[in-house]
Symmetry: C2
Subunit: 463 residues, 2 copies
């Protein structure tokens, strides 16, 4: 069987005069007097391969008439040095067959299409430069996440998507049911009759579940879809998104900071190394300055300050004349404008903020000895704000129980989580990175709907 070559391999490895067979989709076809030029793409890379067709060869006439933008073809031909600019090699076509034609109503004719329009045809948009580049970057980031963690002995744990916890404190939830509640026959709802025999929802985070496997296997991570039923119709919110959540036994805040910083820099370096062509495209077409920003963060060491220090910096800035929309005082949550000031104006680098007031953070974060702050950690990066959130976890049974009561959680349904602190509790820490937020950052894309194959947002679940 002849191995099918992809355009990426051909551009990288083929030598002049080699005979090859290649398949792909026609980006454009241009007629000259004696020749036709076909720009062919197969998704393996941003670059097209130019196929040159000698029209005087009689047998092409029929075939050429069927070839238009969007058509799929198979070409057998010879690699030749390109005479035109923009590419080193091209294919001198020996034989072309049309795999699938593309009628005139093909929505992706050769012109600029708005990202809004492309969202309406999400099933075809992977054939565009922008979306295919985003998906290649997303792929590189996803695999880099696995590589980084696997190289360090982490185990990938698939935490459950359907959960019987009715709130994990992280957001509104979708209900999952097999009760035919829209049928006229249902008089009253009995959850004993539901599939799982109880009320169930889609998870908002795999953290609590992965902690359980952390406290047996050591270093673990969950990486999968999570769900929020928030009524937020913004460019930064999805109802369904992917999150990676590593959890490390015996790690305290210091080690958490070091690991998450290494993680972030590794992901950036992998993208910079493996997606050069795509990043150049984003730098030129989507967000000028992108590459410089990414390279600078990948090489920089992150500034560390406590929340209290961050408030001091902000207060000092106000005293110097800086104005913010939202008030700054110890106890308030940092807003996007504050995060941007810290990274973009104050430190001109990513900033790690730790030791937040317990009132503005989750119940599971370890309480400091001061009784007021918790060992939470956020990594803020220039241009995007918070990219990673994590913490050392509360590992003391009684303290955790109190924090859960304070937070109004139903203790019974979290007894299993408390058990982890009852039997062989250990210091442990973890963080979460939202995949889409990261991909937005490294591609410069400004709408989160364009960095996931089929976005799910309020009032939209197409395809």
């Amino acid at each position: 069987m002849i191995k099918l070559l992809r355009i990426k391999e051909i551009l990288a490895n083929s030598s002049i005069d080699t005979e090859i067979t290649i398949s792909g989709w026609v980006k454009s076809i241009r007629d000259a007097k004696e020749l036709s030029f076909i720009e062919l793409n197969d998704g393996s890379t941003m670059s097209n391969l130019q196929v040159v067709v000698d029209k005087q060869n009689f047998s092409y006439n029929d075939t050429l008439n069927k070839i238009s933008t969007g058509a799929s073809i198979k070409v057998r031909g010879r690699v030749v040095a390109s005479v035109g600019s923009g590419q080193n090699i091209e294919i001198s076509a020996g034989f072309i067959s049309v795999l699938g034609e593309s009628p005139n109503d093909y929505p992706l004719q050769k012109k600029r299409h708005s990202l809004e329009f492309l969202r309406e045809i999400s099933h075809l948009r992977s054939r565009t430069n922008t979306i295919s580049a985003v998906m290649r970057v997303r792929n590189t980031v996803s695999f880099a996440i696995h590589k980084f963690l696997q190289d360090r002995g982490f185990f990938y744990i698939h935490t459950p998507i359907i959960t019987s916890s009715d709130a994990e404190g992280a957001g509104d939830m979708f209900q999952v049911t097999t009760i035919p509640f829209d049928s006229k026959k249902i008089d009253s709802i009995d959850y004993k009759q539901d599939f799982f025999g109880c009320k169930t929802h889609l998870t908002v985070s795999g953290q609590l579940a992965v902690e359980s496997y952390c406290l047996g296997l050591g270093n673990v991570y969950t990486f999968g879809p999570t769900f929020r039923a928030e009524n937020s119709n913004t460019v930064r919110h999805l109802a369904e998104f992917w999150m990676v959540e590593p959890e490390m036994a015996f790690y305290r805040l210091d080690e958490l900071i070091e690991l998450s910083q290494d993680f972030l820099r590794y992901l950036l370096q992998e993208v910079l190394e493996n997606c050069q062509e795509d990043l150049i495209f984003f730098d030129q077409r989507i967000k000028p300055g992108l590459l410089e920003n990414l390279r600078s963060v990948a090489g920089s060491s992150f500034k560390h300050m406590t929340y209290t220090e961050a408030i001091d910096v902000l207060t000092h800035a106000i005293a110097q004349g800086k104005t913010f929309e939202y008030p700054v005082q110890w106890g308030v949550d940092l807003k996007s404008e504050h995060e941007r000031y810290l990274t973009e104006e104050y430190s001109k680098s990513p900033v790690i903020v730790t030791d937040y007031p317990k009132e503005i953070k989750s119940f599971y974060m370890k309480l400091n000895d001061d009784g007021k702050t918790v060992r939470g950690m956020d990594i803020l990066v220039p241009g995007i704000g918070e990219i990673i959130g994590g913490s050392e976890r509360e590992d003391d049974y009684e303290t955790l129980l109190n924090r859960m009561k304070e937070s109004g959680l139903d203790i019974d349904s979290y007894q299993w989580y408390l058990d982890l602190r009852k039997y062989g509790s250990v210091p442990h820490s973890g963080f979460g990175l939202g995949l889409e937020r990261f991909v937005m950052w490294v591609t410069g894309m400004s709408n989160i709907r364009d960095v996931i194959p089929f976005p799910r947002t309020i009032k939209n679940c197409q395809f």
Copy 2:
């Protein structure tokens, strides 16, 4: 910062007389006259590290009283050659601190526990030999899936979990909603008021969605959770399970067969190489003969026969006196007993069966020229039956439309899928592998509930 060592690294790399610090959970503590012996495990590997404590050292008395099975401790000590059998090295303890005690009601006291019992304490069961070994194997398989596909230039596509398709022909679905239907206030259901503005479900397969990105990016795969609301309370069914579904543009049935066979052998080899210790455990404790079976399949070439040939083989066997519970004739679906005969008795190797009657396969499988069979493919393995199912996809618009009508699908909601055959259609093929089925096979575990961290089955959604 001192890098925390894991037991796996210590056993592999530490030289005698090195000073190390190690943390983990106590599997057992045994008292001798002058010494105490602690078996310590940290989840990184099946093996425990033995910690030897000289009781005459006065400072230990208090500490030792707090150490029992399940407790977590931190040990500073010296690597010494082990005098006992079963390990090459052990740790001579210099200093021990107790991180977390383990009260007497710790459910995992040192004795054999049934897998049923462990399911009731799924949040603690990763601390047992069996479940930790399963999860390490599951991790190795999951990462091997990514490595195999990434090495070949496949892109990882996250297909959506929530879908507006009300049936994909693959099974019963869970409904996803934010309508508070158990509230007394709801008089009638208006899906325009639901979160997505329409009725939505959890996906049963990412295939159709990933095909869309395949026809732009070339070689892609989806690997994520899928859902079936089937009322099947068996050892082989989960309501939530993980599936990998690669999809290859320009691949026909032949290439599909070759790739899926390579894929399966690669996964086996990765497990055999990276999980030796765990597999030996499964071979000795769970399923004798397991290792031999896996090695044999990893090295064997798979036998290929068409469905029609398979029916002939089975009919011939019946003529020779073999009895089956279910009837055999052209047109029926192969049952488990038939699959087992083909692999275990007839060919004594994995068997690839292709070209099934269209009536027993999905609408998207490519129709053969005979008009009766489709280019579907199942890989059957000894001891477990079907492990991979795939097909060349129907790439002709009219043929697909007819097959969809025959199958009673709502054409309107699949117009996007038909579009993929309207604009630049190409031959393409894909397959699906259920992760849990594969992990059951390579570990010899007989209940699917024991190969996923938190199983979701009918009437059970604990933790």
